[in-house]
């Protein structure tokens, strides 16, 4: 019998993935980790980063995730993502424009903006950009 995990990735606006996988690599808040068959029950918070999974046909899938929670229980993995995107959903022009805009706001110390907040948004955009770079799609 093949050793597969059930995976479900959900976000507040959509069910992103549902199916069988071989493994998943997630950006845990204490460092990245990998979940394989028969992993012990686990609940972990996730950082901004890349979520990588290998599905039952040995196909790799990458997502940009902006944080969330991952639960493993009895070979069922659930990922609750804040926001999550596939590379296909990302638009390099939009990301670059957003980065430029946020950098500009930070640089000019624009009034009425919270620098913490902007830095966070910037981090998310850089994460998306690095996902595209990794895939050589830029």
């Amino acid at each position: 019998m093949e050793k597969l995990l059930d995976l479900e990735i959900v976000s507040p606006t959509a069910k992103v993935f549902s199916g069988k996988i071989k493994t998943i690599i997630a950006p845990g808040s204490l460092g990245g980790f990998q979940v394989l068959f028969n992993h012990a029950p686990l609940v972990s918070t996730l950082n901004v980063g890349k979520l990588k999974l290998v599905d039952e046909n040995d196909k790799e899938k990458l997502y940009a995730i902006s944080g969330g929670i991952l639960e493993v229980n009895n070979n069922k993995v659930s990922v609750l993502a804040e926001t999550i995107e596939t590379p296909e959903e990302l638009n390099i022009e939009r990301i670059k424009a957003a980065i430029a805009r946020y950098e500009d706001i930070l640089h000019r110390k624009e009034e009425g903006t919270d620098p913490e907040q902007i830095r966070l948004l910037l981090k998310l955009e850089y994460n998306r950009l690095s996902l595209l770079n990794k895939l050589g799609l830029n």
């Binding site: 479900e8 959900v10 976000s11 507040p12 606006t13 959509a14 069910k15 845990g28 808040s29 204490l30 012990a40 029950p41 686990l42 609940v43 972990s44 918070t45 929670i69 639960e71 229980n73 659930s78 609750l80 804040e82």
Partner: protein
Amino acid sequence: MATLKEIKVRIHAVKSTQKITKAMKMVAAAKLRRAQERITSARPYALKLNELLTQLLSTTDKIVNPLMEKRVGGNVLVVLVTADRGLCGSFNTNLIKAAATHLQSLGSSAQLICIGKKGFDIFKNRDVNLVESYTGVFNNLNIDLSNEIVNRIVKGYLNREYDRVEIIYNEFKSVMKQIVKIEQFLPLVRKEKSKDEKSKKLDYIYEPDVESILNDIIPKQLNIQLWKSMLESNAAEQGARMTAMEMASKNASDLIKELDLLYNRARQEAITKEILEIVSGAEALKES
């Protein structure tokens, strides 16, 4: 008795109104379908999050987050979710009535946040503590805005501007039926767990630890709670509008039927009159 022309004009007017109500009904139906899809896609996330939260809370009795702590003070913030537009039957009226009664029962210290233009329009002129309002929200319903509102509410709560937060919104039961709901938002509602739920507790690895995860999860739970209320309200609004417009179209049909009858009667009367005139004219000619 109205003249033929007058009746004709009225029929025309009613017909064009009916065209509008029919179109609005179709638009509402399409929007309702989208709204329902959104509720369906938010559901798995909400369920899972709730499950996790309950499970985490069962591991600890400590109050690790100020958003969980019950306060003794009696200052209440009411968050009212209405529609942005009218023409949806008693959707807004019922909601506003319930909110007004509720605010009254809470006393003068109660504060109000309005989401949706209709509630704002009513309460801006009334003697209530309107602290914030968000209008034009439902045209382009967006989770970022919902999260922003939650941030605003939580900030005020942590600054002790109020000790309890409640949401009033219309829940979508069916296309015909909406239910006005008053839900506690803050402090976080703690569900009582049944015994067998406790017994199947597993030995989880918590990373980094239960408290940090709870602190991470609680804001998410609040976000999804408000988001869900807004989605429900949106679906309920479209449902109410659909029903209201259906009724309006039906009334217009009835009215057109009546006016048609009136028109035909008036026409017949005119013809009879004309014939009578001709006949009597001919008679007069014969006699002479």
